[in-house]
């Protein structure tokens, strides 16, 4: 009996190791998720809304809620700051001519359905250094498709609505540099673009503890609002 228990205990131990490996294989280190980062000299990343971003209805508060999720991670040297005044409308079709002209845009992308939001990183291509070395983020741009059905409250979105707080938290995750490429080289972690794989049931379950940086946001949910363990771990490791 004792032998059997011991055997079962060993099996449980091995199983736990396998499970831990499976999780860590998804989690990776900061370098796996952040091949490029914000310049070390100034990691308070100022950003502004771009006219005509909505100013009422809770829009801006919910967007800032998304940024605050990352600001509240303990031990990090990077944070977002919503600066004022708004930028006058400008194009996001190229990298900004001004470093760190980071902006939150509003307007038509492709109408209702299809594309809901777009996020842009511009990274400096240091062709003489390895990925992650001397590679800095120049600016980020985010755009919301004005044609979609959004929820800007703090309760629960409708089943066919996009929760602004959740989407903002996810997109600001990318704006931390998570998933930025280095001349086409992509992140080692997850799907290569900073996402935990949906297929990882541990990190991306359909329940309430779904990590913010999972690939898919479930329509009508608010699960992305709060960062989970591995969202934070990679961020803390990077910064």
């Amino acid at each position: 009996m004792r032998t059997r228990l011991s055997f079962m205990g060993s099996m449980c131990f091995v199983a736990s190791l396998v499970a831990a490996w499976a999780v860590s294989a998804q989690a990776h280190s900061g370098a796996d998720w952040y091949p490029a980062k914000w310049p070390s000299a100034d990691r308070v990343v100022n950003w502004r809304f771009v006219e005509p971003f909505p100013s009422g209805g809770g829009w801006r508060e919910r967007v800032r809620n998304g940024a605050s999720e990352w600001n509240s991670v303990s031990g990090s040297t990077m944070s977002f700051k919503n600066d004022t005044p708004d930028y006058a409308s400008f194009s996001g079709t190229t990298c900004s001519s001004t470093a760190q002209k980071n902006a939150m845009h509003w307007g038509t992308i492709d109408g209702a359905g299809g594309i809901a939001a777009a996020e842009i990183h511009c990274t400096f291509l240091d062709a003489n250094g390895p990925p992650g070395s001397n590679t800095t983020i120049h600016d980020f741009q985010l755009k919301w498709d004005s044609a979609e059905n959004y929820y800007t409250g703090t309760d629960s979105p409708g089943s066919n609505q996009l929760d602004v707080w959740s989407i903002a938290a996810h997109e600001f995750g990318h704006a931390t540099g998570r998933g930025a490429t280095f001349g086409g080289v992509l992140t080692n972690g997850g799907d290569g673009h900073g996402h935990f794989l949906n297929s990882n049931d541990t990190l991306c379950p359909s329940g309430s503890n779904r990590h913010t940086m999972c690939q898919s946001y479930i329509l009508g949910s608010k699960m992305f609002r709060s960062l989970e363990t591995h969202d934070k771990d990679a961020f803390q490791d990077a910064y």
């Binding site: 310049p39 070390s40 000299a41 100034d42 194009s91 996001g92 079709t93 190229t94 990298c95 470093a99 307007g107 492709d110 209702a112 359905g113 299809g114 594309i115 809901a116 939001a117 777009a118 996020e119 842009i120 511009c122 990274t123 400096f124 291509l125 240091d126 062709a127 003489n128 390895p130 990925p131 001397n134 800095t136 120049h138 741009q141 979609e148 066919n160 996009l162 989407i167 996810h170 998933g179 490429t181 280095f182 001349g183 086409g184 080289v185 992509l186 992140t187 080692n188 799907d191 290569g192 673009h193 996402h195 794989l197 949906n198 297929s199 690939q215 898919s216 946001y217 479930i218 329509l219």
Partner: protein
């Protein structure tokens, strides 16, 4: 300030090289495929580039260039979009970078089945005829339509075609 210093340094160090690709080619550039990130109906899918062991292509950017990386979050199975991958690319390029398609050689790169089974297409845009792309686009099938999911390009290339374009 750090960025400016870095730019200055790299411009100087790399002044003898016409293209950043010279050094970049020695690295491990992985094949690029798109992962359509669909799970179940009624979700937004964050489509993305992903690494694939072996082969691949890298951007051919001048020294000291910036790399523009656009990612679209896609509402899964939204109807009414372009019916082919080429049309999906065309819609984006014509709207955003007028004249780009007429000025580059476009070749189809890898086609892949994302892990959830959604087909994807890669297009490489070569602006100087050297066989190396200055931009790479990925288009993913989303229900009955095709949507641009990601676009990575040398900023210097985009600046030539952004006039009149809309993001």
């Amino acid at each position: 300030m750090a960025l400016i210093d870095s730019l200055t340094r790299v411009t100087r160090v790399g002044s003898g090289q016409a293209r950043g690709w010279t050094n970049l080619s020695s690295r491990v550039f992985r094949g690029l495929i798109v992962l359509a990130v669909a799970t179940i109906g009624g979700t937004i899918v964050g489509s993305a580039l992903a690494q694939e062991a072996g082969g691949g292509v890298a951007l051919d950017c001048p020294e000291g260039d910036l790399v523009y990386q656009l990612t679209h979050d896609i509402i899964e199975d939204a109807p009414g979009g372009p019916s082919t991958s080429e049309a999906g690319l065309n819609g984006f390029a014509n709207r955003t970078y007028p004249g780009l398609q007429q000025s580059v050689a476009i070749t189809r790169g890898v086609s892949a089945e994302a892990h959830n089974g959604a087909p994807t297409e890669e297009f490489r845009l070569d602006d100087d005829g050297d066989g190396q792309p200055g931009a790479i686009a990925h288009v993913v099938r989303n229900g009955d339509s095709w949507v641009l999911s990601s676009f990575v390009a040398c900023n210097s290339l985009l600046e030539r075609f952004s006039q009149g374009g809309q993001w």
